[in-house]
Symmetry: C2
Subunit: 224 residues, 2 copies
Amino acid sequence: MKILVMEDDREAADYLKKAFAEAGHTAHVAGDGETGFALADAGDYDVMVVDRMMPRRDGLSVIAALRSRGNTTPVLILSALGEVDDRVTGLRAGGDDYLTKPYAFSELLARVEVLNRRASARESETVYRVGDLELDRLSHSIKRAGREITLQPREFRLLEYLMRHAGQVVTRTMLLENVWDYHFDPQTNVIDVHVSRLRGKIEKGFDKPILHTIRGAGYMLKGG
Amino acid sequence: MKILVMEDDREAADYLKKAFAEAGHTAHVAGDGETGFALADAGDYDVMVVDRMMPRRDGLSVIAALRSRGNTTPVLILSALGEVDDRVTGLRAGGDDYLTKPYAFSELLARVEVLNRRASARESETVYRVGDLELDRLSHSIKRAGREITLQPREFRLLEYLMRHAGQVVTRTMLLENVWDYHFDPQTNVIDVHVSRLRGKIEKGFDKPILHTIRGAGYMLKGG
DNA sequence: AGGGCTCCATGAAGATTCTCGTCATGGAAG
DNA sequence: CTTCCATGACGAGAATCTTCATGGAGCCCT
């Protein structure tokens, strides 16, 4: 398992590197946000462990930037801030897990391994499921509650992306970069329109809403 | 493993049923071609063992009919005819293997198990490979000799079907039914045109031909 | 071996279909 | 009250799919 550790405290970083090595994993260390971003963007890591506060660029900003570039490597955020609000913003920024300092390495290790297992399971999975919604990447078919649904190409990509990130907020920027391949702001409401159309197909006629609006942030797919 | 045996010789059929049962498989028996066709079309068999000569409808015709309906269950043909030509016509009709009577059951069993293994491996496989040609059903991408190739939807379906049936003759009727969803003869050369375009993309610029024309029968994808 | 016939290959061109994105208005949320 | 989001309608553009027509290759029969 190949792990990227972003941590500015030299001592802590060395300790992590050593501990991961003992557990049979390979860890690279980045001492600041910029370096971390560069490494993450270039290298092919299984999991990232990111300290929230770092020089040159803070952890959340690095994560958000990576996410908007399509990087979906699981991230565990390390932070001294343990308030609920801090956790929420951390997870919203694209984190997959959040651990408060001080922590036990054994727990960190366990969580990191869970993240990796989940990710590799997801990759080979050909069918995504969220609630009673089902997307089969092989046959390109969508079903909700057993009923077949027909989507247009862009709608399909949109839903696929949302499903891959089910349970986490998906920002407009993420969608623009990964579903539209736009690397600029189109200054229109393209996304809104397509989300609306998608809703018309996957929600109209079914009881529970599944595609939620997070006002001021984006959208989130989440099934009961 | 669920096996369908089409064999009119009652004694031989009973023997096969028993022998398959002893090997841990379930075998159903059809005594004539029509019954066999009906069972095969309805049931969900892993492998079929088909006698070539049967009352009411001969084995090859049954196989061809099943194939044109999109049934891809592997078929092993049993026959007293052992000449090369007989084998060829048998395999061309849609057979996957051919065994001449008299045969040893152990060999039949082994061959049947190979057919099944191949089929089930193929189903979960998300990437097809024929020679240096590669089709990834997940990403919908095509590569030949490492070079990315762009196909249109219909071309993709066409190639996908050809690759799934690589090494065996694919008739126009099979293509019409499974790639075009036509259940009638369009009276035009739609297929030829698309095959031509496909060739233009997957053969032009590469050395070896890979999509072969079987005159009077159809096409066959086969890599060196 | 050659002529004739059938089958296949391929270029071009047209038309339909379908998708995508924009705009504008109305409504909900904070 | 202001900002953000939802949605209906519309228009334009693109792109794919077919069809047609011609030329070439293969096969068979004499």
